[in-house]
C-alpha cells in the first residue's frame, strides 16, 4: 500500500514539475521569446559564476566534515612514502583543478552572449598547443619519477631478518600460518585440504610442517619495528589482503603465491593512543570481490612488542598434533578422483 502511495507521490511531483515547464514555455511565448532568452542567458551566466565560490565552499565544508574521520598517520615505515606522495600529487592536481575549474566558470560568465558581443575568430595557435602539451608532460614525468622510486622501494626483496607469516584467504575468512621454531613454512598441497583437520593442506611428509602454527581466527601477531613478510595465498577464489593503516594491499590468488612486506611502526596499544580510540584495531579487509560474504571477510593484526610476542607464541601449539599425520580425511575419495595424470602441484614455500 505504502508503495503505491510513494509511487503516486513521485508521479504527482513529476506532473507538477512538468506543468511548471510547460507554463514557462507558454509564458515565454507571450512575453516575447527573445527577451526571455536574454534573461535566461543572464541567469545561467550568473549561476556559472556563482558555481565556483559555492563549489569551493562546498569542498571546504566537505573537508571539514570528513577530515576527522580519515586514517591516522601511516603505521608502517614504507607507508610514509605513500603519505608524502599523496600530498605532492594532491598539491599538483589541486592547483590544476582550481585553475581550470575557475577558468571554466569565469569564461562562461565573462563571455556570455550580449546583443553587441562578437565572438573572436581564433582557430589555432601552435605555440599555445606546444606549451600545454609539454607542461603537463613534464609534470607527469616528475610524478612518474617520484612514484617509481617509491614503487621499487616498497616492492623490493624483503630484508633477510623479516618475520614470516602466511595469510591464506578462503570464503569468507583468513587462515594464518606461522613457520614455528624452524622459521620455515612447510609445503602445502591443495589436494590434502579438508576442513576438519588440515585446513591448509599441509604435506605431512614434509618435516618442516610439523612445528607450523595455524590460526583460523584470522589474527596475525607481529613484532613492532621489525620487517614482516606476508606470504599470501588463496584456497578458492581471488581475495585481497587490504591493510589500509599500513597503506598496503595485495591480491590472494589461488595457484599463485604473492608477497608483501613492510615494517610496522606502532603497536596496537600505541595506535589506540594516537587515535584516541580504545577499540582501535588493525584490520585486514578483503579488497577483492569474493562472493556473498566478501563484506564480512575480516582479519586483524596485533602489533606488539617482542616480549609480548614471545609470550603469545609460547602459548601456541603446532597444528599437526604430536607430529602425527592427520587422520584420513573424509574427502580422501574426492582427492583420489583427481586424474592421476595431473602433475602434483607443489606449493613451494621454502627458505626466504
Amino acid at each position: 500500500m505504502s508503495v503505491f502511495i510513494l509511487i503516486a507521490l513521485i508521479v504527482l511531483v513529476l506532473a507538477v514539475i512538468y506543468q511548471i515547464g510547460r507554463a514557462s514555455e507558454f509564458a515565454s511565448l507571450l512575453r516575447g521569446e527573445e527577451k526571455v532568452q536574454a534573461g535566461t542567458n543572464r541567469l545561467m551566466a550568473w549561476s556559472m559564476l556563482l558555481m565556483f565560490p559555492l563549489g569551493m565552499w562546498a569542498i571546504y565544508a566537505c573537508h571539514q566534515a570528513l577530515i576527522g574521520k580519515m586514517l591516522p598517520v601511516s603505521a608502517s615505515v614504507q607507508g610514509e612514502g605513500y603519505d608524502s606522495m599523496m600530498y605532492v600529487t594532491l598539491i599538483m592536481t589541486g592547483i590544476v583543478f582550481i585553475i581550470t575549474q575557475g577558468l571554466l566558470c569565469w569564461f562562461a560568465f565573462r563571455y556570455q552572449s550580449t546583443p553587441n558581443r562578437k565572438a573572436y575568430f581564433y582557430a589555432h595557435n601552435n605555440r599555445l598547443e606546444i606549451l600545454w602539451t609539454t607542461v603537463p608532460a613534464l609534470a607527469m614525468a616528475v610524478l612518474v619519477i617520484i612514484g617509481l622510486r617509491h614503487w621499487f622501494n616498497i616492492t623490493s626483496e624483503a630484508p633477510a631478518d623479516s618475520q614470516i607469516v602466511e595469510v591464506v584467504g578462503k570464503q569468507f575468512n583468513w587462515i594464518i600460518r606461522y613457520p614455528g621454531k624452524d622459521g620455515v613454512l612447510g609445503k602445502r598441497n591443495f589436494q590434502l585440504i579438508n576442513n576438519e583437520n588440515n585446513v591448509l593442506g599441509l604435506d605431512t611428509n614434509d618435516r618442516q610442517n610439523l612445528d607450523d602454527i595455524i590460526l583460523e581466527n584470522g589474527e596475525v601477531h607481529v613484532i613492532v619495528n621489525r620487517p614482516i613478510k606476508f606470504i599470501i595465498g588463496s584456497r578458492d577464489v581471488i581475495h585481497d589482503v587490504g591493510l589500509p593503516h599500513f597503506r598496503y594491499k595485495m591480491d590472494a590468488v589461488p595457484g599463485i603465491t604473492t608477497t608483501l612486506w613492510f615494517t610496522p611502526k606502532y603497536t596496537t596499544a600505541q595506535m589506540k593512543e594516537i587515535t584516541g580510540n580504545p577499540d582501535f584495531v588493525y584490520e585486514i579487509a578483503c579488497d577483492q570481490m569474493c562472493g556473498k560474504g566478501h563484506y564480512s571477510m575480516r582479519g586483524t593484526i596485533i602489533v606488539e612488542t617482542a616480549e609480548e610476542h614471545a609470550a603469545w607464541l609460547a602459548k601456541q601449539q603446532p597444528y599437526l598434533k604430536g607430529g602425527q599425520a592427520p587422520a584420513p580425511a573424509p574427502s580422501a575419495a574426492d582427492t583420489a578422483a583427481v586424474p592421476a595424470a595431473t602433475p602434483a602441484p607443489v606449493q613451494t614455500i621454502t627458505k626466504l
Partner: protein, 607 residues
C-alpha cells in the same frame, strides 16, 4: 512548415517513395508502421531505437543503484518497495547479500555496456555519421539493422537472467574467475553467469557490426568536398571509438570463450588448485590473472569507447553555442589519436596489486600518466574555445560545460591512481568508485545529454522543454558532485568497494552518517532523471515545433536537411562541401557563421 520529402534518388537508397512522416500526405503510399519503425534500415530510426532502448536500460540500471544505496545508507531498515520489485531477493524489504551483489553487478554491466556503449555510440554514430558527412545512409543499412537486433537480443538475454531461480551474475561487472567460473563459489555463477556471457557475446557482435559500418561509412561515403579534415570532431571521435571497439572487443570474446570452456568443458585456463564446496577440484596449471589481462585489454579501451563520443559531442556543442570555432582542430584530432593508441597500452594499471612483476608495473605507470597529456590538451582547448566567445547558455551548452568540469575532476584523480604506490592503497576502494563515476559515468552521461538536447530538434522535429532541461542539468550536476566527491574521502580512508554492510568494521563504520547523506542525494538525483525521461518522451509529441531548418545556426550538414528528413536524408542531391565544419565568422550578411555548403568566396582565407 513541413518540407515535403519526395521520392529520393540515388544508389544508396533501397526504397523510394517515402511520405513525410507527419502524416499530412496520405495520398503518398505510407510504409507500414512495422517496416518503418521496427524493421527499419534507416539510420535515423535505428539511432532512435538505440537511444530509446538505452534510456530504458538506464532507468533500470539507475533504479538498481537506488536499491543498493538504500542498503548502504540504511543497513538496519526495511523497505517494502524493494520487496515489491525484487521479491525473494529482498524478503521483508531487506536486501540479501546475494541480492545486493546481483544488483551491483547488473548495475555496472548495464550502464557500461548497454547504456554508455550501445546507447551512446549506437545513437550518435548512427544518427550523426550519415547526416554530418553527407551520406544517404550507412554503408550497409542491413548490417546496421542487424547491429541493433543483436543489441536487442543481448538485452533480452540479460533481462531474462534477472528472473531465473539462482539470479543473474553477481561477481562484479569484471566477472573475475575463479569466482565467476565455479558455480559452487557464488550463487550468480550458475545459469546467471552463462546468460551474462551469452548476452555480452551477442553484444560484441552488435558492436562489431556497428563499428565496421561506422568506419567504412566515414571512410567511403563522404559527400563531394568533405575531406577528412573538414569533418566535424563528432565524426572523428566516433571514428576512433569504432576503431578502438573493433580492436579490443574480440579480445574480450576470446577471454569469454576460455571462461566458458573452464565452466563447462573441464579445461583449466584460469583455474588452478581450488578447494571449493568442501572438495579439491581437478583443475591445475591455469592462471586466474590471464583473464584479467584479457578483460582489461578490452576494459581500459572500453572506458575510452565510452568517453570519446562525449568528447566529440562536447567539442561540437561548445563551439556552436560559443559561436566560435573549436580551438586547435588538428590538436584535437592528434590528441584523439594519442588517446586511441595509448588506451591499448595501459590496461594493467587495473592490476598493480595482482602480484605482477614490479618492473612491468612501472611500465604501466609511465604509460598511464602519459595518457593524461592528450587528455589535458583537450581540456585546455575546450577552455580556449569558450574564451572570448559569445556564449548562449542553452541546455546542451550547460551539459557540455558540465562535461568539461566533470572530466577535469575525474581525470585528475586518474593521475593519483596511475601511480602504483598510491593505487596500492586506494585500489578497490571508494576512491576508484569516485574516480570512474565522475570521469566516465557522469561525464559520459553529460556528453550524451548534451547530444540529446542538441540534436533532439533534428531527431523529432520538436524541442525539448527548456525549463525542465535546466532543472535536469542543475539537479544532475549538483547531485553528482554531492554523491561522488565525498567518496574520495571514504576511499582514502581505505573503505573497500563492493561491501554490503560496513557496520562490523572498526575502520569504516564511522562513515555511517555520510552513507546516509549519499543515499538520500542518490534518490533525489534519480527523481531528477525522471524529469528528463518525461521531458524526452512527452516532447516527441507535444514539444515546441521546430520552425526553421537550422535552429542552432550551425554550419554542419545535418542542418541542411529538411526539418523532418525522410529516408535518404536530402530530398534532392546531397550537398557539396566547400569548407571545414567550424567557420564561425561573419558571412557578410549579418550571420555569425558560414555553412559548410557555401563556396569559398574570392579572396577568402581558407582554414
Amino acid at each position: 512548415m513541413n518540407q515535403d520529402v519526395a521520392a529520393v534518388q540515388g544508389p544508396n537508397v533501397a526504397h523510394t517513395h517515402h511520405g513525410d512522416d507527419t502524416g499530412h500526405h496520405h495520398e503518398h503510399h505510407e510504409q507500414h508502421f512495422i517496416w518503418k519503425y521496427i524493421f527499419s534500415m534507416d539510420h535515423k530510426i535505428i539511432a532512435k531505437q538505440f537511444l530509446i532502448t538505452g534510456i530504458l536500460w538506464a532507468i533500470i540500471g539507475a533504479l538498481f543503484s537506488v536499491f543498493f544505496r538504500l542498503q548502504l545508507g540504511f543497513p538496519n531498515e526495511t523497505f517494502p518497495i524493494m520487496e515489491t520489485f525484487l521479491g525473494k531477493w529482498a524478503q521483508g524489504g531487506k536486501l540479501t547479500p546475494e541480492g545486493y551483489y546481483a544488483l551491483v553487478t547488473m548495475h555496472g554491466t548495464i550502464l557500461i555496456f548497454f547504456v554508455l556503449t550501445a546507447g551512446l555510440s549506437g545513437t550518435f554514430a548512427n544518427f550523426l555519421i550519415p547526416l554530418q558527412i553527407g551520406a544517404r545512409d550507412m554503408a550497409s543499412p542491413f548490417m546496421n539493422m542487424l547491429s541493433y537486433w543483436f543489441f536487442l537480443a543481448a538485452s533480452i538475454v540479460m533481462f531474462a537472467s534477472l528472473f531465473i531461480q539462482t539470479g543473474p551474475a553477481s561477481g562484479g561487472w569484471t566477472a573475475y574467475p575463479p569466482l565467476s567460473a565455479i558455480k559452487e563459489a557464488n550463487l550468480g555463477s550458475g545459469t546467471g553467469m552463462d546468460l551474462w556471457l551469452i548476452s555480452l557475446t551477442l553484444f560484441v557482435v552488435s558492436t562489431l557490426l556497428g563499428g565496421l559500418n561506422y568506419i567504412s561509412t566515414i571512410l567511403n561515403m563522404r559527400t563531394k568536398g568533405m575531406t577528412m579534415t573538414r569533418m566535424p570532431l563528432t565524426i572523428w571521435a566516433l571514428l576512433f571509438t569504432a576503431v578502438i571497439g573493433l580492436l579490443s572487443f574480440p579480445v574480450l570474446v576470446s577471454g569469454f570463450v576460455l571462461l566458458i570452456f573452464d565452466r563447462h568443458f573441464g579445461t583449466s585456463f584460469y583455474l588452478s588448485e581450488l578447494f571449493v564446496g568442501g572438495k579439491a577440484l581437478p583443475y591445475v596449471g591455469g592462471s586466474a590473472i590471464l583473464y584479467q589481462h584479457l578483460f582489461w585489454f578490452l576494459g581500459h579501451p572500453e572506458v575510452y569507447i565510452i568517453m570519446l563520443p562525449g568528447m566529440g559531442i562536447t567539442s561540437e556543442v561548445l563551439s556552436n553555442h560559443s559561436r566560435k570555432p573549436i580551438f586547435g582542430y588538428f590538436a584535437m584530432i592528434i590528441s584523439l589519436i594519442g588517446i586511441t593508441v595509448l588506451s591499448f597500452l595501459v590496461w594493467a594499471h587495473h592490476m598493480f596489486v595482482t602480484g605482477m612483476s614490479p618492473f612491468l608495473g612501472s611500465v604501466f605507470v609511465l604509460m598511464t600518466l602519459l595518457i593524461a597529456v592528450p587528455s589535458s590538451v583537450k581540456v585546455f582547448n575546450w577552455l580556449t574555445t569558450i574564451w572570448r566567445g559569445n556564449i548562449r547558455f542553452t541546455v546542451p551548452m550547460m551539459f557540455a560545460l558540465g562535461f568539461v568540469s566533470m572530466f577535469i575532476s575525474g581525470g585528475l584523480t586518474g593521475i593519483w591512481l596511475g601511480n602504483s604506490v598510491i593505487d596500492m592503497h586506494v585500489h578497490d576502494t571508494y576512491f576508484v568508485i569516485a574516480h570512474f563515476h565522475i570521469v566516465m559515468g557522469v561525464s559520459a552521461f553529460f556528453g550524451m545529454f548534451a547530444g540529446i538536447y542538441h540534436w533532439y530538434p533534428k531527431m523529432f522535429g520538436r524541442f525539448m522543454n527548456n525549463t525542465l532541461g535546466y532543472i535536469h542539468f542543475f539537479g544532475t550536476f549538483i547531485g553528482a558532485y554531492l554523491i561522488f566527491w565525498p567518496m574520495h574521502y571514504e576511499g582514502l580512508a581505505g573503505m573497500p568497494r563492493r561491501y554490503y554492510d560496513y557496520s562490523a568494521w572498526e575502520s569504516f563504520k564511522h562513515f555511517e552518517g555520510l552513507n546516509v547523506f549519499i543515499s538520500v542525494v542518490v534518490i533525489l538525483t534519480f527523481i531528477v532523471q525522471l524529469v528528463f525521461v518525461l521531458n524526452f518522451f512527452v516532447s516527441i509529441w507535444y514539444g515546441r515545433r521546430v520552425t526553421t531548418m537550422n535552429p542552432w545556426n550551425s554550419p554542419t550538414l545535418e542542418w541542411t536537411t529538411p526539418i523532418r528528413p525522410g529516408h535518404g536524408n536530402w530530398p534532392g542531391e546531397v550537398p557539396t562541401v566547400y569548407r571545414w565544419a567550424y567557420d564561425y565568422k561573419d558571412d557578410g550578411h549579418g550571420n555569425d557563421f558560414v555553412p559548410q555548403t557555401t563556396p569559398i568566396q574570392p579572396g577568402e582565407e581558407v582554414h
